[in-house]
């Protein structure tokens, strides 16, 4: 199409690799080819729930005469094309300042604007659920004082809380300069803890706590972290000297650069006061008394742009303690940008600049999920007729020590002539979504390829040969003007991107490595699986690797082999070696993973992590060599398996799954948003393919991996075809009501405490089917309509021999646990007998029935030896054994007996797991530390105590170090020993309120002294449960 012209990059091939990662797009749509406005001061947001969806803004007029709404730029194809949608209410079809953000997972678009046509600065906060629809955005808040001056420069941030109190609610923060604040403390953050709701409550906080010259500087920049930390940066003006010649437009401000912080979404009674300076006043003065030149003119000495408010702040998504700050000042006599970093939540900052850029403005910082820092800014270079506005994008992979540099645009400053202010804008924007960076800047749209070293794509009509813009009809030229330019920097070349599938539907349909993954069930057909031998199990029906339940027991009975199938996203000329790291957790949802470093006595991982090597141009898939791991005798064999793959250039996104459960505390950054991670939570049980026998019972665990009590909501679904065959099934939350199975439904587990486990039973009827066929019931853990984790329970149709064999394996597993973990000596004979039959021959139905006939007396006898273990058994194991005995007595066939036998074994196995977990679980150690930190942070009765800061700081540091693999399970007792004095202080201070606290602390101290990690975890949890009662659900992560 002649109207759409692509400007190919003409630069040297040496730079090709770097350029290939960056795409630059002129955002003005083709339909607006006649456009000549000064579309400056752009902003951008990418929908985290669907990164193909983007919204941009700029000072762009809606087409028409005095239209009531201003436009936003909309893209639904990842920024390749843009459309203007006039849905921002503002008279005249344009706004004043405007910034835009999507909520985290809500798909809601928010905007902060200055509405035009008002006598005072009028800030509106807007919202729409349909950013590409025709309905104007709703006005949530209007802030101004008709008797005053108004509110300036709204800078919006939005996300969805992914854990803790208010999980699923949209948090929105708007930094602004409220010039009507009567005491000159004008730096303000407006915020809502539930902006997506109908009520959308908003309030505001004066983040300036010190005296000023009468006001703060214009920009106030908030930034959040998923753990609830919110920072804001602003300029505190301590003096202002108007220019003698042009006092209305120019002056010199003396200013501090201040950072404030809140640790709980800014939701408390005294928000943004967590970070204090030496004067004990909230707000760390990163820089004191610097000089800022204010120049509100199209100054030819500064590229026709005004100056006076360059500020940006960004936080590392992996670690809320690490924060970067960029600001502009004139202390050196030249307008200069500075970047610094804090690694301790803003308490101290790098003494010198990480990077310094002279004669520059519009800084924007962002940090991606690998900790890479992006820095976007605009700089004036050259002089006179060759003076240019250069837009630079720099990145650092070493915490800002060194930076690469890409020039995105470099037009002359002399064209076009300004049409008012700002010329290119008082700000631009950079953001990180996963590994990639996205940005927007405004610049001259003169279509000269030399102006765009990375190449550029225009949608509007262009004649590249003659370097002119063309009108819509392509019948005439259009004047050069300022346009917004979108860019994306894909940080990992597809040839270096390796991934493990989260799902496979068939040989023709599977995960292609998209982030986030696009299949709702990412745990049932993923490319990580277990086998009981060293063979992969190939060929795979429907291209889905076949998982085998883990074995547990001494020797080879407990030997297992893990596999992962790895792919490369695109060919590459380089060979690459990929490392696979495996982890396991208990079966269900929310259970925390352990790995080789966990030194868990129940699970052993052998040898180094396996690797696979992709030859040049090889895409795979390649299956890892069999990786041996061993499940000890005391442990149940119902487990989840996960893998994290990495290469030097494509490491998995930290933190590891170790110590975490997918979904908590952040909605599946760990699996869905990282194609280097995959997990399998599929419990399968073989059932006779002949469709006879009783219902069989299967169990999964729902573990509250959050740090607050909550109602856990599980949504289950069954495909209509599968449902037609298992419609007589039932679902039970053990201890609650039994519900008939439907095609879908929701079950709620009320008031589950942190670290608490509950069991879900699925009882499924026998089915007719082809051997190997799987009929699953899929469960998703829902948080405010968002699936954060899940598992599937399924039955697999099998021959009588296979069913008999599987039943005998379960028999061996459960009785091995009884022998080793519960001291029931006779149980070993049962395990040995099953093992002998399994190893001697394939167990036919007749052999199995004979086995059962011979061993039922011993099985009943063993039950009588269990004593206290059976007391209050919520799984009714004894009754299940009774049913099995009755069936045997009645002469039932092998298939029927095997189903009843399996149900009994599953019940007993769940009971044993229940009893074991009651003694503690080292997999939950990290969760306990996070919970302790959370309690001392959120619960007022704890947070107000003198020792709270010590507990919070030590816990947070330990969690940070854990995520960086600097501390391990073995360091847990040391952490608690170090906090003993603080915990004693708490116990003494709250002893009258919580009489059992002292005793609980005593138990913890004793457990720490004994050094048993499992017992320590239990004692720690008991202590935290008591502290939890001080506040009703005060957690966030």
């Amino acid at each position: 199409m002649r109207d759409k012209i692509f400007c190919a990059a003409l630069a040297l091939s040496l730079a090709a690799a770097a350029r290939a990662q960056v795409t630059v797009i002129n955002m003005i749509p083709n339909a607006k080819s006649n456009e000549t406005g000064q579309d400056s001061e752009p902003n951008l947001t990418v929908n985290p729930a669907n990164p193909q969806q983007m919204v941009g803004s700029a000072f762009t007029f809606a087409t028409g005469i005095n239209p009531p709404n201003a436009p936003i730029f909309v893209s639904t194809d990842g920024g390749t094309t843009w459309t203007l949608n006039n849905i921002v209410p503002s008279p005249g079809g344009i706004t004043g300042d405007i910034t835009v953000r999507f909520g985290g997972t809500s798909n809601m678009l928010y905007a902060g604007i200055l509405r035009r046509g008002q006598p005072t600065l009028t800030m509106d906060i807007l919202r729409t659920p349909t950013f590409s629809g025709a309905t104007p955005m709703s006005v949530l808040v209007t802030r101004t004082d008709p008797n005053g001056i108004g509110v300036d420069q709204p800078w919006i941030q939005a996300t969805t809380a992914l854990g803790g109190t208010g999980t699923g609610l949209d948090r929105v923060f708007v930094g602004d300069n409220d010039l009507d604040e009567p005491n000159g403390k004008t730096a303000t953050v407006d915020s809502s803890q539930d902006a997506a709701s109908a009520a959308h409550p908003f309030g505001f906080s004066r983040v300036e706590k010190r005296t000023t010259v009468g006001q703060d500087g214009p920009p106030v920049r908030p930034i959040y972290h998923w753990d609830g930390t919110v920072y804001a940066a602003f300029f505190r003006w301590t003096n202002f000297v108007p220019d003698a010649v042009d006092p209305n437009n120019k002056g010199v401000a003396t200013s501090d650069v201040v950072v404030v912080r809140d640790d709980a979404w800014g939701a408390g009674a005294n928000p943004f006061q967590a970070l204090k300076d030496s004067d004990n006043i909230a707000g760390k003065k990163v820089v004191v008394g610097t000089t800022i030149q204010i120049d509100n003119t199209n100054n030819v000495n500064f590229g026709r742009e005004r100056r006076g408010g360059s500020l940006s702040i960004a936080v590392d998504p992996r670690n809320s303690s690490r924060v970067y700050l960029a600001w502009g000042d004139d202390a050196s006599g030249t307008t200069t940008l500075h970047v610094r970093r804090s690694d301790n939540r803003g308490a101290t900052w790098s003494a010198a600049d990480l990077i310094t850029i002279v004669k520059a403005t519009n800084p924007a910082l962002a940090v991606n999920t690998h900790g890479k820092v992006g820095f976007l800014y605009q700089q004036i270079t050259g002089a006179g007729a060759t003076e240019k506005w250069e837009t630079h994008f720099r990145r650092s992979t070493d915490l800002g020590v060194s930076w690469n540099d890409l020039t995105l645009a470099q037009p002359l400053t002399s064209s076009p002539a300004p049409k008012g202010l700002p010329y290119i804008g008082d700000y631009l924007h950079l953001l990180a979504q996963g590994k990639d960076f996205y940005g927007v800047f405004s610049a001259s749209n003169k279509p000269d390829s030399a102006n765009f070293p990375q190449g550029v794509n225009y949608q509007r009509n262009v004649d590249w040969t003659n370097k002119v813009l063309r009108n819509l009809a392509n019948t005439g030229n259009v004047s050069v003007s300022i346009d917004p330019f979108f860019f994306k920097s894909q940080e990992l070349a597809t040839g270096l991107d390796f991934y493990v599938r989260d799902w496979t539907d068939s040989a023709a349909s599977g995960d292609t490595g998209l982030e986030p993954s696009t299949h709702p069930a990412f745990y049932a057909t993923s490319d990580v699986w277990n086998r009981r031998g060293t063979l992969t199990g190939a060929p795979f029906p429907n291209d889905q690797p076949a998982n085998e339940p883990a074995g547990n027991g001494p020797g080879k009975v407990g030997d297992n082999w893990a596999f992962a199938r790895i792919r490369r996203n695109a060919t590459s000329a380089a060979a690459q070696t990929v490392t696979a790291h495996f982890l396991v957790s208990k079966f269900g949802t929310g259970s925390n993973y352990v790995d080789a470093s966990s030194a868990d006595p129940d699970v052993t991982f052998f040898g180094p992590d396996p690797t696979v090597t992709f030859a040049a141009n090889a895409l795979g898939p390649i299956i890892t060599p069999a990786y041996k791991w061993h499940l000890n005798a005391v442990t149940g064999d119902h487990l989840c398996l996960a893998v994290e793959i990495s290469t030097p250039s494509d490491p998995f996104v930290a933190p590891s799954l170790r110590g975490f459960a997918p979904g908590w505390p952040a909605t599946d950054l760990k699996v869905l948003l990282d194609n280097n991670k995959a997990q399998r939570n599929l419990g399968l049980s073989k059932t006779p393919a002949r469709g006879i026998g009783l219902n069989a019972d299967y169990y999964g665990i729902a573990h509250n991996a959050a740090t607050m009590p909550r109602d856990m909501e599980l949504h289950y679904s069954v495909s209509p075809e599968v449902y037609s065959r298992i419609h007589d099934g039932v679902i039970e939350v053990v201890g609650q009501e039994v519900l008939p199975l439907s095609t879908e439904g929701t079950i709620v587990l009320p008031n589950v405490q942190p670290g608490e486990n509950r069991w879900i039973r699925v009882s499924l009827p026998p089915v007719f089917g082809s051997p190997g066929e799987i009929l699953p019931v899929e469960f998703q853990e829902m948080v405010q309509d968002q699936a954060v984790d899940g598992f599937a329970i399924g039955i697999q149709a099998a021959s009588t021999t296979d069913v008999s064999t599987a039943t005998l394996e379960s028999h061996r597993s459960v009785y091995t646990r009884l022998a080793y973990g519960f001291g029931v000596s006779d149980a070993q004979g049962e395990a040995d007998a099953a093992d002998a039959l399994l190893t001697s021959t394939a167990a036919t139905g007749e052999q199995y029935a004979a086995f059962l006939d011979q061993h039922l007396p011993a099985m009943n006898n063993i039950m009588s030896q269990l004593g206290g273990v059976l007391a209050g058994d919520p799984f009714a194991s004894q009754a299940a054994l009774g049913s099995l005995s009755q069936l045997k007595a009645s002469g039932a066939d092998a298939d029927t007996l095997a189903v009843a036998h399996t149900s009994f074994l599953n019940r007993l196995d769940s009971l044993l797991t229940h009893r074991q977990l009651a003694q503690g679980d080292r997999a939950d150690i990290l969760q306990m530390v996070r919970w302790m930190q959370d309690l001392y942070l959120r619960v007022p009765a704890l947070a107000e105590r003198e020792e709270a800061a010590a507990v919070v700081d030590a816990s947070r540091a330990w969690v940070d170090q854990w995520n960086e693999r600097l501390v391990d399970y073995a360091d847990y007792p040391g952490l608690l020993q170090g906090l003993d004095a603080s915990l004693q202080q708490t116990a003494q201070g709250l002893g009258s309120t919580l009489p059992g606290l002292g005793s609980a602390l005593g138990n913890l101290e004793a457990a720490v002294a004994a050094g048993n990690l499992t017992a320590i975890e239990k004692a720690h949890r008991d202590l935290l449960l008591q502290l939890q009662t001080l506040g009703a659900g005060g957690g966030t992560t």
């Binding site: 749509p29 607006k32 009531p68 459309t83 006598p119 008709p146 001056i149 300036d152 006076g308």
Partner: protein
């Protein structure tokens, strides 16, 4: 939300397209005029494809159609370039059209992308009477707009700017500081309200910041009808009664004095 109307600078093609009314019933007349008031664009078009769209941002469905604009009867200047082109129309009623249908579409501007997206507010069969009806509706809308401006004005005068000067209002610093200035108007006649004397002082923003760049910046010699409002902000009120004019549509040419005078009659 009530939509704005194309007024003085809109393309009043309808007026030039035919004066011959002919045949339209009173009911149709009312309907055309009502739809014109509702719509940003009025055009004669032919439906090319139903259940289709030619914009990526629009999902094709029962409520979308691709329509070729044959003739623009009313709309912004930029829309004139779409005559002869296909645009996407979101239909008011799903499934309400068919391929090949010719109609006069009344639509609101929606999306500007690789093509134009419109939201239909109504449709009538084409006929000779439609064009003058649309033109008449446009004239009435223009009058309505002036009437509305008049109603919200505190003082309406005819006169000429004889002096401009800085206003020197106190203000905190903002890049959006309007930088108020004063323009002195020598008044010929008062069409509404009570002028404080032969001369009226109005405040106007000298700033070329994005918030104010379109606000009128009177210069000595400007002559016309001035629809003035009392200054509302605290800083203005502190100076007593002051007037402003922030919307360029509130400065009319002397040719409009008759219209204003007529509309100002109680």
């Amino acid at each position: 939300m009530k939509r704005s109307r194309w007024t003085a600078r809109a393309v009043f093609l309808a007026a030039a397209l035919g004066a011959g009314a002919g045949g339209a019933s009173a009911q149709t007349l009312e309907r055309v005029q009502a739809l014109t008031r509702e719509a940003d664009l009025v055009f004669r078009g032919t439906v090319q494809r139903v259940g289709a769209a030619n914009l990526k941002a629009v999902a094709p469905g029962e409520d979308t159609a691709v329509v070729r604009i044959e003739e623009l009867l009313r709309g912004p200047v930029d829309a004139q370039d779409f005559v002869g082109r296909e645009v996407t129309v979101k239909l008011r009623a799903p499934g309400s059209t068919r391929r090949g249908e010719q109609a006069v579409f009344f639509a609101d501007s929606w999306l500007w992308g690789e093509s134009l997206g419109l939201v239909e507010v109504g449709r009538v069969r084409p006929g000779r009477g439609v064009r003058p009806q649309v033109a008449a509706a446009g004239r009435r809308m223009r009058e309505d707009e002036v009437r509305k401006s008049l109603a919200s004005s505190d003082l309406v005068v005819t006169g000429r700017v004889v002096e401009t000067r800085p206003a020197d209002l106190p203000a905190r610093y903002s890049e959006h500081n309007p930088q108020w200035a004063e323009a002195v108007i020598e008044v010929d006649s008062v069409l509404k309200g009570a002028a404080p004397g032969r001369r009226v002082v109005l405040l106007y923003p000298r700033s070329v910041d994005i918030l104010w760049v379109q606000a009128p910046k009177p210069q000595v010699g400007w002559d016309g009808v001035w629809l003035l409002k009392r200054g509302e902000s605290g800083e203005m009120r502190a100076r007593g009664t002051v007037y402003t004019v922030l919307d360029p549509r509130n400065i009319l040419s002397r040719d409009d004095a008759g219209l204003v005078r007529r509309l100002a009659q109680p």
